[in-house]
């Protein structure tokens, strides 16, 4: 009987040791593989991410910059050049009008990449082709990069919210002051 119990203990011990060794192998080599995979995955796709972000950034920034340029120079010419002032404004702008334009300009200018591109903006689902088959992703990076250029609905929402918001405010501020033909010409009306 003693021998039988002794064999059972040995079997349990061997099983435990085998599990430990298995787990240790998994931890050691799995983690090493994971680290390598992370590095390779990042290296392979960081440029695609940059390209996608660049296109979004230029698009959004350009529209906000346009509003800045229009507003900055509307304010500038209103203050400095009587002739151009008459061409721009329906009537002589008051100090309060100019103050209001400058406040609005400050608001638009305060939109920085930090305020525009919040963490929510980047909470995007990565296309399934990239997460579904890592091995395939490594084998055909070109196809996957092309998929990244597709329009991004979240960017459109952010773009819409910011530009429409400021466009509406700018139109509300300028409409009573500026000739209608100028508003039409710069695409505000």
């Amino acid at each position: 009987m003693d021998d039988v119990w002794g064999d059972a203990d040995d079997v349990d011990f061997d099983r435990q040791m085998a599990e430990r060794n298995w787990n240790r192998l998994q931890d050691t080599h799995g983690v090493a593989g994971y680290k390598d995979g992370v590095i390779e995955g990042k290296e392979a796709h960081i440029q695609a991410g940059f390209d996608q972000g660049y296109a979004q950034g230029v698009h959004i920034g350009h529209e906000l910059g346009r509003l800045q340029g229009i507003l900055a120079y509307a304010s500038l010419v209103a203050a400095k050049d009587a002739d151009v002032q008459r061409r721009v404004f329906k009537a002589h702008p008051t100090d309060e009008d100019l103050r209001m334009l400058r406040v609005l300009y400050g608001e638009i200018q305060s939109v920085t990449p930090d305020t525009m591109f919040t963490p929510d903006f980047f909470k995007l689902p990565v296309p399934s082709a990239l997460v579904g088959d890592a091995a395939n992703a490594a084998a055909a990076p070109t196809d996957l990069l092309q998929q990244q250029i597709e329009p991004d609905p979240t960017a459109d929402i952010a773009f819409h919210e910011h530009t429409v918001h400021f466009k509406d405010k700018l139109l509300a501020a300028l409409a009573p002051l500026v000739h209608d033909s100028i508003l039409v010409a710069v695409g505000l009306s």
Binding site: W22, L25, Q26, H29, G30, G33, Y34, D36, G37, V38, E40, G41, K42, E43, A44, H45, I46, A48, G49, F50, D51, Q52, G53, Y54, A55, G57, V58, I60, G61, H62, E63, L64, R66, L67, Q68, G69, I70, A72, Y73, S75, L76, A79, A82, D83, R86, V88, R102, Q109, P113, M116, F117, F121, F122, L130, V131, A134, Q148, I182, A185, V186
Partner: protein, 157 residues
Amino acid sequence: MSDTGDIELLLEVETMFETSGWEDGYRDGVKAGMLEGRVFGCERGFLFGVETGFYSGFAELWQAVAMQAPPEAGDATDATDAAGGAGDASASTGVSARAHKQLAQLREAAARFPRENGASVDPQLEMDRLRGRYRTAAAALRVTEPAFRPAKTGLTF
């Protein structure tokens, strides 16, 4: 099992774990790389976009101003002197022919600015050219302020 067989089996298991770990890591690395790249790309693109937009808005507004009917007859002489400057001003628009041309070129250059990142065009070089066009147009209009400044420094009115 022989020692050689044990080692081969061990290597096979190690490789299996590494491959499995690599696939998990690659998947997460793709997400992390895309995110890092997008964050940096958005910031760079936005800064370029705001500046090109500023120049574009400047040109659009001045072109619109130039298309406006001239001030009242009694103000025409003053208007020409004020807007045109060095004798090439147009009394009908208040903006000289040279300034007209510069504004059109500025607007065109702003529209041409690369909207996508590509190896064939250097955005920084294009931006330097655009700034040069802006300075030329501003000089033709005799406008010196405000120059474009990044958001944090702000414009001075």
